[in-house]
């Protein structure tokens, strides 16, 4: 794997909560990990194993206590909030368990949000891309609807379209099917595979769903803040 293909690299990444206090809690104990472009990876593990913390750190929502996180080859630990925020907008797409749309906006505006954050009023090309993504997630004709009017599965698909609108190098999903019924979950997951193939971004999915993890080429198992298994590395 050449360096240009590398999207994410963790080196001795540690996360300690409340350092120096009696409530000190080390959640991640020195993780090393690489994700390459085009990889579809499941992050599994029991509750409390640190999956969500790891996802927050990788998603630059939280910063590591020690070690280094390289995103697209760029070290991120010393970046200030502004630079991390910008990098988050440029390189990362999020899909959360509770789809997290902004209900005050239309479906189209929700999808366009990361681009509007980046450069204000959307260009016609932006709108075209958003509509195309909505069609791809099977929501053609839903652009004008209010986000709150959609079903859970539909909202999750809007969230996926939103995560992709910036064409991120890394797509992070936290239990994206945890809140959906089996059939809808299957559809959403199929969508992830499709997107991974088509966009070639690295996808990291936190999941409890064994069928979901089984369908990923690679799966990383986290137990008590340590990687205990990493199968199918590209």
């Amino acid at each position: 794997m050449s360096d240009t293909q590398e999207v994410l690299r963790l080196e001795g990444l540690r996360k300690v909560y409340n350092p120096g206090t009696p409530q000190e809690l080390e959640v991640l104990h020195g993780l090393d990990m690489r994700l390459a472009r085009g990889e579809l990876t499941a992050l599994i593990g029991p509750s409390g194993s640190g999956k969500s913390t790891l996802l927050n750190v990788i998603g630059l929502l939280d910063s590591p206590s020690a070690g280094e996180l390289y995103l697209l080859g760029q070290p991120t630990r010393t970046l200030d909030d502004e630079a991390r925020t910008r990098l988050r907008n440029e390189a990362i797409g999020f899909v959360f368990q509770f789809h997290h749309l902004i209900s005050a906006f239309s479906v189209l505006d929700n999808v366009l949000m990361p681009l509007m954050i980046r450069h204000g009023k959307p260009e016609p090309a932006d709108v075209q891309l958003a509509e195309q993504l909505l069609a791809q997630v099977g929501l053609e004709g839903f652009a004008g609807k209010r986000a709150g009017q959609l079903s859970g599965g539909q909202q999750q698909r809007v969230a996926i379209a939103r995560a992709l609108v910036t064409r991120p190098a890394l797509l992070l999903a936290d239990e994206p099917t945890g809140n959906l019924d089996t059939r809808t979950a299957e559809q959403v997951f199929e969508l992830f595979r499709e997107i991974n193939r088509e966009f070639g971004c690295a996808v990291l999915v936190v999941t409890h769903d064994p069928r979901l993890s089984a369908s990923c080429r690679r799966s990383i198992e986290l137990v008590d803040g340590r990687i205990v298994r990493d199968t199918g590395v590209a």
């Binding site: 998603g59 939280d62 925020t85 910008r86 997290h100 949000m113 509007m116 954050i117 939103r162």
Partner: protein, 406 residues
């Protein structure tokens, strides 16, 4: 436009948040509107009232007058080592002409902030017609100059304001007392046998009973004859640009001329006192209403920030900088202030119109556009300032925590 474009998303989100929670927005808007309506109404009313009172007061008198200093006893200083006990009775103030008044007039004409200068010879006299007598105040004037101080012609009820030769203008009360109408003759007695027979050319009504029953306007030279002031004037009346600067200007002119200068503010001390306490009361009401509006906006936005915690988390996760989140809430505060006060300005204006229609009707109150605009400006600024604390809180949210907030 670049600036607007840069804040495009902030506007969009702020408006969406405000419209999304219509009831909350409506309630606080009504609160702000009531507050600004009260401010606009009370300010317009008090300003109108004060302007009216001042106009009525100053409509019939000069802003300041320059006179000779009062005659005073000169006491010989006691020789060294001696103690002088002085029993002094004040001097009677006789009518005296201002020394070198033509030069003084020209000097005052050239003073900054002075709008009009009018020398006059004024003093007491008796007006007689047949057996009826009335004590009057002679006002010997240069009509062109004097009209710029008190526009008597505006208040004429009969005849013309012409005082050439033997013509005089008298007040309506005096005309009634002596049974005079335009064209009638009356005898003016300045004392010590100085008498003139004059003809009534005009009758005025200044609206102040005291003046309408005493003032007799006549030519300066006739007054000089009656008052035994050949070529002299007793005082110079002035109007100034800024009426509330009159006292300051009076002090300056007194120092400059060595004369005694008295402003309307000194002669109407009580009125001025009443006006300034009124202004202070209005100011207090404005401050407290403004404060309650500010706290209202702040508390609504504080609630809104909590309600929007998850959405703020989403925005931050998608790469929205802290400052952008902060601006969204500052904008909401400003928009609430602006829209609420626009509504309030309208309501305040309507209240004033209702007052004009149904109130005591003593005077007509105007609502200056500037007042409504400045109320809106202040309310908008208040909204933005009130939003600072909630907006900072929103900007400080940890996105990882906020996004999981339920």
């Amino acid at each position: 436009m670049r600036w607007l474009d840069a804040l495009w998303l902030e506007w969009k989100i702020a408006l969406a948040f405000l419209f999304d929670n219509k009831l909350q927005t409506l309630l606080i808007m009504v609160g702000i509107a009531v507050g600004s309506a009260v401010i606009v109404f009370i300010t317009a009313l008090i300003t109108g009232l004060q302007a009216n009172v001042i106009e009525r007061t100053l409509g019939t008198q000069a802003h300041l007058k320059v006179q000779m200093p009062d005659d005073a006893n000169r006491v010989l200083p006691a020789p060294d080592g001696a103690v002088a006990l002085v029993l002094e009775s004040p001097r009677a103030q006789r009518l005296r002409s201002l020394s070198n008044w033509q030069a003084l007039r020209d000097l005052l004409d050239g003073q900054p902030q002075v709008l009009a200068v009018s020398p006059l010879a004024t003093g007491p006299a008796i007006a007689r017609r047949g057996l009826a007598r009335a004590s009057v105040a002679l006002m010997g004037i240069d009509p062109d100059r004097y009209q710029r101080i008190v526009p008597v012609a505006r208040d004429l009820v009969a005849g013309r304001f012409s005082i050439e030769g033997d013509q005089v203008a008298i007040g309506s009360e005096l005309a009634k007392d002596l049974g005079l109408s335009v064209g009638d003759k009356l005898r003016l007695d300045g004392g010590q046998g100085r008498e003139l027979i004059m003809r009534v050319a005009g009758i005025f009504e200044l609206g102040v009973r005291e003046l309408d029953s005493r003032y007799v306007y006549l030519d300066l030279r006739q007054a000089q004859i009656l008052l035994d002031l050949p070529g002299g004037v007793t005082q110079i009346d002035l109007t100034v640009e800024e009426i509330f600067a009159a006292e300051e200007i009076a002090e300056r002119l007194a120092r400059l001329t060595g004369m005694q200068a008295e402003s309307w503010m000194a002669t109407n001390g009580q009125l001025l006192n009443a006006l300034s306490s009124q202004t202070m009361t209005t100011q207090m009401i404005r401050i407290f209403v403004g404060l309650s509006v500010a706290f209202g906006i702040a508390s609504v936005l504080a609630v809104s920030v909590v309600q929007r915690t998850r959405e703020i988390g989403i925005l931050r996760a998608m790469g929205s900088p802290r400052r952008q989140v902060m601006r969204v809430f500052l904008l909401q505060g400003g928009l609430l202030g602006l829209a609420g006060s626009a509504l309030g300005g309208l309501v305040g204006w309507a209240l004033v119109m209702v007052f004009n229609l149904m109130g005591p009707g003593l005077f007509f109150v105007q609502v200056p556009t500037g007042l409504v605009l400045s109320a809106m400006g202040v309310a908008t600024l208040t909204g933005v300032l009130a939003a600072v604390a909630p907006a900072r809180r929103a900007a400080r949210y940890d996105p990882a925590v906020a996004i999981r907030y339920v």
